[in-house]
Symmetry: C2
């Protein structure tokens, strides 16, 4: 599914937001944990299946209003191989509910190995005459520190199979300035990378005028969002940092074009952990997440009109 498919879903739901599925065990209602401990013991399998139950509950509650989910690979790897199995099941479940899936894994390596990552997340493996799909995600976050030959294998899937990647430009965290804002000639590193992202993405512009090769730019950096938006009208932004990390609707507004397009804003804890803020016992975690997602949609609609 291309960036067009994501844009179609955003337009249909009039909601340029993505729900981060980044569950730590601490975010999951005790009833779900207890059920899985009864089934699998005090094991990583039980922890992972608890995440799956939590995720499917969230997806069910969100799928008619939120166009996409973004599972953060770290939280699945944290539960070992069983956790990674749940990442795959979550991707499949989200697809069954017609959601776009951006796997947030920030992968990076030299050419031959980047090819393996690209095949793992976007492609298939030939084995015994069968074509087998390891993860089958739609979008993937990628780190460009190794340069073109670490990125080209992903671009190939963007060009030929309409997959999407989001390359780290300016990340949402406080210390992102340390390397990303070092000055090279007259530009910051993140600006150099953004200009390269623009070039990498030039050959896979979709029907709405955005490229399958996008950028990650944090909501915590509104100035940079505005600057990159103005400079690169065809670049699609994945914008983390809204909500728990401190970015507000006024900040993310800069990520969008005048027509209200070109970006998707992520919220993870704000949606997943909404039930904990309400002092709920966890029985209504899905409703709380839905309410939080609607609140976010309304908050964004104050600053962005999705035509």
């Amino acid at each position: 599914m291309s960036i067009d498919s994501l844009l179609d879903k955003i337009r249909r739901k009039k909601n340029p937001s993505v729900a981060g599925l980044d569950a730590r065990v601490e975010y999951i209602p005790q009833q779900i944990i207890d059920k899985n401990i009864a089934l699998y013991g005090k094991t990583l399998k039980a922890a992972a299946e608890s995440v799956y139950d939590f995720n499917t509950g969230l997806i069910d509650a969100l799928c008619d209003i939120v166009p996409a989910v973004k599972p953060q690979s770290a939280y699945y790897e944290l539960l070992g191989p069983d956790g990674v199995a749940v990442l795959k099941k979550t991707i499949d479940y989200a697809h069954s509910k017609d959601m776009y899936v951006i796997t947030d894994a920030k992968r990076n390596d030299i050419g031959a190995t980047a090819s393996a990552y690209a095949e793992a997340y976007f492609g298939s493996v030939s084995f015994g005459g069968e074509e087998l799909t390891p993860f089958g995600t739609d979008g993937l976050t990628v780190n460009a520190y190794l340069g073109s030959d670490g990125i080209n294998p992903f671009i190939k899937f963007c060009n030929e199979q309409n997959k999407s990647i989001f390359i780290l430009a300016k990340t949402s965290n406080k210390s992102s300035y340390e390397f990303q804002e070092l000055i090279v000639g007259s530009r910051s590193i993140y600006q150099v990378i953004a200009s390269q992202i623009d070039r990498w993405g030039a050959d896979c512009i979709g029907k709405y005028g955005f490229s399958n090769v996008g950028a990650v730019v944090g909501a915590t950096h509104p100035r940079q969002l505005k600057e990159l938006r103005d400079m690169y009208p065809k670049m699609f932004f994945l914008v983390p940092g809204y909500g728990a990390q401190g970015g507000g609707a006024d900040d993310v507004a800069y990520a969008f074009t005048r027509e209200g397009h070109g970006a998707i804003v992520n919220s993870s804890r704000g949606i997943m952990c909404a039930w904990q803020k309400k002092g709920d016992d966890g029985s209504h975690f899905a409703e709380a997440a839905r309410d939080a997602a609607i609140e976010m949609k309304n908050d964004l609609s104050k600053v962005v009109i999705v035509a």
Copy 2:
């Protein structure tokens, strides 16, 4: 296990090399594939278990002469969750043979998520009163593009639990110059990162004078190896790019101190695929790997004397 534990193994075996376990299905003898297809069908499980059989054969053949293995996560992720299960089993098997394990995953993220990665690879998860170990590796490669708050969670494990990390400085691939050699003031980006690696690692220097916080510097860049070696005597280098990628013993010589310490050189395809070069049918893949590892050890011994 700290960098000291790796150095002990290097000294004991008089061999500063690490065997990359980066198996693609194409590198595995057909007999192994056939056996696993008979057991598990034409599935990713069969492909992954073939990798495991191949890895254990390699580890058995190498464990008395090679101090460490470096599984490249991409090739396990390529086989989906079953592949990641084999990554974990491979780490455990290498430990049972007293080898040091550097997981090559180049992970990177913002602070909270970097913590999850650090716990996944180095730590444990509290669940139902149990402490469960997701991967339990000794060393991990890490990408520093997000700055200190993406690195500190890993450093914590280096300081408190003697784990080791290898941060990407100058990678072995051709396009590494694109960002890594951009000039900031009077220095290249990779030099800026190296100086930061030196600072990050200052509080966890082991008994041999090297830090648990090391750097990745490619064998394909002998000039940079020499420069960084001279500048940072306490920095331990993980050196990829020997063999198949074009680096030779004369190149990697620069990675070592005058006393013959401070680096470990990786070879992946040169060892794993040695049987294919010999025109073997695969029955003797382990012996071929052992021969190649001995040849590499001898090659390195021409330029490095491990005291």
